[in-house]
Symmetry: C2
Subunit: 111 residues, 2 copies
């Protein structure tokens, strides 16, 4: 029974590593059906075991999902979870503050 805060923390921590951020980026930019681990490995040029470890961290946090296709495993991003996470930051963690209206709003007025 992990609480909401713990879950958000786990996900943020999972994102909190340069290599995992790079992995996520590649996964996001890859095909919607998912990117094979092997392709990530050759693109990012890191040992397979290290990559696998990071992928497991991301998958455990729910940020990516896996699907087997023959001998290859395809990883794809879970945008819903990612979304819920950024929402959490503003709506659950940072709501109700004196400085509530941020300098610029979170997404809709970037120009």
């Amino acid at each position: 029974m992990t609480g909401r805060v713990e879950q958000a923390a786990e996900r943020l921590k999972a994102l909190g590593h340069p290599v995992r951020l790079a992995i996520l980026r590649r996964v996001v930019q890859g095909p919607e059906a998912g990117t094979p681990a092997g392709e990530l490995q050759s693109r990012l040029d890191i040992p397979a075991s290290t990559l696998s470890h990071h992928l497991a961290t991301l998958a455990d946090a729910g940020l990516v999902q896996v699907a087997r296709e023959g001998t290859t495993l395809r990883y794809r991003a879970d945008f819903g979870v990612l979304h819920a996470l950024t929402d959490y930051i503003w709506q659950d963690c940072c709501a109700g503050g004196a400085a509530e209206p941020p300098p610029t709003s979170p997404c809709c007025d970037r120009d």
Copy 2:
């Protein structure tokens, strides 16, 4: 010369801890001038040294700012940085993907 990815990772990692998330929440909900460390300590009921350690992590990441006021140190959230971080996730890390339009937009349509 820390790159953009490394900086984002550092900030996400700083947020990736339940206690620090709780600290940030309190800081956000506190006065705009900043919340004294002592008040955070009594509210969160953790040892002062532990709190100080977490505050340093948040401050090093740039998520909170400190200002001295006599003997007390007031911590306040840096909404700009927080904002830049959630923006980074969608605009730099997750841009250009097949599933680019998220299920719901990051902030402006929550009802």
